[in-house]
Symmetry: C2
Subunit: 257 residues, 2 copies
Amino acid sequence: MKIALIGAGNLATNLGRALVEAGHVVCQVYSRTQVSADALALKLESRGVSDLAEVVTDAQLYIVALKDSALGEVLPILIKGREYALWVHTAGSVPISIWAEYGLKHYGVFYPMQTFSKAREVSFSDIPFFLEASGKMEMDILRSVATSMSRNVHEASSEQRRYLHLSAVFACNFANAMYTASARLLEEHGLSFDAMLPLIDETARKVHALHPADAQTGPAVRYDRNVIDKHLALLADHPLYRELYELTSRIIHEEKD
Amino acid sequence: MKIALIGAGNLATNLGRALVEAGHVVCQVYSRTQVSADALALKLESRGVSDLAEVVTDAQLYIVALKDSALGEVLPILIKGREYALWVHTAGSVPISIWAEYGLKHYGVFYPMQTFSKAREVSFSDIPFFLEASGKMEMDILRSVATSMSRNVHEASSEQRRYLHLSAVFACNFANAMYTASARLLEEHGLSFDAMLPLIDETARKVHALHPADAQTGPAVRYDRNVIDKHLALLADHPLYRELYELTSRIIHEEKD
């Protein structure tokens, strides 16, 4: 399978590595800037390009891993002359119908639901992949590529995928925002964030066994107004954290009932 | 060390188990209700009482693990006639000075920073304990009890402890609230929360290696207005989640700068 990777961001970087490790050939990496394209191409023993006109025309699979807002601009130019290949995007919130307007025959969605940073190599073996395709043949190809990297491969409609993505923002990005607030508050008082790691780990492990609503502890679920008020007072200089504390405590308390 | 455990909630249950496993004797468990006292006493091969007058007078260490708001009511009654023992509480946000008014000689704070539920047995070996004591002898005793359960034992002032507790609410309770929101949204659309577990695990693992601010991904940190607006529209029927989404995205975006 001759694959062209369109994008060189966090997701493209991690996906590219996993594809190559699984034995696929990434024949080319496109990025808006040559530096990014070359940086990733080097890791994948591939070739980097930053001019859309230079993207190969003979790849069998084009994997588009760009910021959602870039798709409308890049795709019309890119697809022209490459209509016979299989095209997929990797975005949680972009429906499969985006491909229809380009007169493609073979298209789909290839969504690995995970948090990717360039600085961190992620093991793909249990990453959930959610696939959607224009037909059975296309789905078979995508499933074969996904299962070469992960044992956790599913089909999902565009409608399901947008709720998966929304839920992932809460479970991952927003949980991480809570870690960040925790780190900032500790650092301001000369304390190390490392002290939180056993707690963070147990909080994550716990929801493998208990529903998160049943796993909840702390002042909000006990409605310990005494502690809540002390904490709000400590946040006097952090109006946004204070607002976040009040709102999240209210949500925890109301969900209990 | 003859220990009386005052309280039979989530923390007392887990701490009691760990004390017994470490070879200590919990001679008595007090709870406001006899059912709770007996339930925990049974697990600890101890005796349960629900009448403050029946609490033993000859324990060497009294560990008070009650809701903060119950302390003011219970302690004056409980301490009377037991002033020569070592008294500790387990609360993140209660200062050590609370003991001063009772004319005690030996007192301190014994704070295991972890999320405890009765339904889940937690390994204590890497739980951070934060200790504070009225003197060196008392600190030596508390350190010896804590290190019999955990290899992660520290001293912390009341001032440090209240910031540890506040930060723990963000890193644990609020992160768990984000898991709960994620679970609710998935369940409403017939999707399983299990799909989120690899993502939740990686989000937690990631901050062992990267500062959470550097680990952040997703639409808010990219300021992908297109995705953010789609997500807000999906939350039309969840006004509190919508508010949480907007506020947290704003915090993530502003912290980036």
